[in-house]
Symmetry: C2
Subunit: 455 residues, 2 copies
Amino acid sequence: MVNIEDLEELKQISETNETLLLEKLLNFQCVEIAEFLSGLEQEKLIYFFKKLPEDILGDVFCEFNLDIQNNIYNNVTKKFFSKIFSSMPSESRADFYKQLDAKNQVKVLPFLSKGIRDDVISLSLYSDNTAGGIMSTDFATLYKDMTVQEAFTKLRADAPSKKMIYYAYVVDSEMKMLGFISLRDLILSESNQHISDFLHENYISATVDDDKETVASMIEKYALIAIPVLNDEKQLVGIVRYDDAISVIKEEQTEDMEKMMGIVSDNSNQTYLETSCFQNYYKRVGWIVCLFFLGILTTLVLSHYELLLSQIPVLIPFFPMISAVGGNTGSQTSSVIIRALSLKEIKINDCLKVIFKELQVAFLMSFTLFIFVYCEVFAISYFSKIKNYNPCWVAFVVGLALFLQVVVSMILGALLPLIVKLLNKDPAVVASPAITTIVDVTGILIYFSIASLLL
Amino acid sequence: MVNIEDLEELKQISETNETLLLEKLLNFQCVEIAEFLSGLEQEKLIYFFKKLPEDILGDVFCEFNLDIQNNIYNNVTKKFFSKIFSSMPSESRADFYKQLDAKNQVKVLPFLSKGIRDDVISLSLYSDNTAGGIMSTDFATLYKDMTVQEAFTKLRADAPSKKMIYYAYVVDSEMKMLGFISLRDLILSESNQHISDFLHENYISATVDDDKETVASMIEKYALIAIPVLNDEKQLVGIVRYDDAISVIKEEQTEDMEKMMGIVSDNSNQTYLETSCFQNYYKRVGWIVCLFFLGILTTLVLSHYELLLSQIPVLIPFFPMISAVGGNTGSQTSSVIIRALSLKEIKINDCLKVIFKELQVAFLMSFTLFIFVYCEVFAISYFSKIKNYNPCWVAFVVGLALFLQVVVSMILGALLPLIVKLLNKDPAVVASPAITTIVDVTGILIYFSIASLLL
């Protein structure tokens, strides 16, 4: 494993003794070599990268970020690049190819073998968000009537070029999938047994058009190392591995969080520091402006009460508290519900159960807060310079408004994600910022209705 | 794969024809059988569960939630339970054992074979949050001087009881780890070669005390199927598999989100509907009350401006907007930074870069909002009943306050997570609810300072 001292040492060596550096580098994993090289200046990076042994070029290359990949692409001969390209895992290869412009795509193709050329072109046709878009074609196939002995021979012949041979997929002559066997089965069997003797015909599979998040959650649910991906004709066209599933799960999480915070996902793989400030602005401004327009409601309602407020100024200091507490409890509830929906812990028809539970929690929460607010408001209005009202009465009025506001906010926080889910949209859009703005309006209405009624 | 029609069909069959049901059930995966049985009444669940073939009892049992597991435990004989228990994956077995009270733990042990008894006891000693707490002891070992032929023989002997044989770990006579080989290597080799010929001595490993999140991210980074876990004497004591890593990553995400929304994580595996309303209340009330106390600041500052407000009532309607926009932009920024920190895209010493970038985004955002706010305020104050001030001037003052508030909120949103990270705490605590409450105070200060200066 690489650690900081190793990196420092390597950096020093890279200045002086390059043979030693290359020797040392080979003790590291490909992802670590890529990490180290990424820290060097561009020229040095390319210089050392070119000196790596041919068999790891592809694996190191696919660990670089896109900028570095394109840099290398532009600074090596097409012939050398085809070497890298041919040894890359099939799905990373297709991803890189996809982002090249048409002119460059055409330039790369002639240097590739026919098999790889076809593979790249067909893989790059699938949409990024589907199983097809993340699948790999590095899998091993067997035939049903093979003996274990024959299977071993075929796997041996295939394996150097096939990354995933822990499962071998059993297909007929038209590549229609019949089932799978695991290497474990092969090892436990006798060499004269037939594949058909321990074929798993009851298998889990995905189709090329399945959403990649669905595929990832199947891999998770069934604890698969890889899931076979079939086309419309039930032919085996690829596999999605567990490590791709982990990436999808992480991406999905970032997307959910971005959505919850009103940030437009751009599906790029750029890190925070790589994203320009205009992109950052673009990702965030839409939602802020939408919420701003929603917020105009608050202003309009408040304008309506302008006269009441100038007559009862004692109400003013507590208004932001009502709206803040409403926003906090509402957004807490909505994130609990959004998370439960996304983990499939609740379904739409649990709606009544959810509301009933949140109502109970809301009463407990409101009651707790009522006590605190009563004390606070009493103390502040007792010491206030303006004394038209009995502090006890003001405290009760504000406390009551808060009580109602918390109940309403929590019920809205629970209902809105469910409603959005019912409309088949992503419930994350009604998370924190949206719900806060919405309950601002209910806060004002509750506060001033109660105040004008009771004061 | 199970789908809703299948489930309905199975449910109907379960009423009438139990032999057919059991036959049909066996076409499903263990996780699906558990899903189906979980939907039945308790008595039926136990009745059908007992009739399942012995070799899948353990795998089905570990897919049930804890309530159902304990129900089964209490309703079958200890002898039958020991059958289930012995065939469970080792880490699930230890998890179940851990949550039994001491009296029941003692009751189970005598029915187990010595090997399993030792395994359960030693695994249950590790803390839940460490590699030891999630590791499995179902792994296969080989010795360095074995031939490929001998290795196959040992794996065959071990495999039925060892779930994970895609990697085999090579140890010395004291279980000290020397390296590993993958099944792929074995298959590619000749039967008279020695294990030492293709031993990977340069391997990634974890130690029993490593945080489970660290272990999960190692599995992710190096795309491993399993990572070996060593004790202080470098002895191999377990492995953590990729599917455990996926669970850890998901749990961590829920925790992050809960922390961001001010919800206390209780580390229980209960789903939303299983959690009682008191637990729900308990998980959420702490943060809400803390924020409430923080919010008293807002009220105090506002009280200070009470007189100013009653003199310039035209200011009131716009105040919530200033604070809402500040809260939204601030919490957006903080979640971007928190996410980037958690994905390790930025480090503490990128602090200046981050602030500089956010400053640029903030200016773009503020300028956009200034234009909208100017128009809004102008329109509203133009039609307002109270006309002491020139609408143009009021709009400019409010717009300027908003401009400053957005810049301050976004810089705070970027700075606070970095500061919390610097103090070695989890930056998620300063997400949305906290930052919203904090910028409420800056909002009032900015708004009223500018208003009292310019109006």
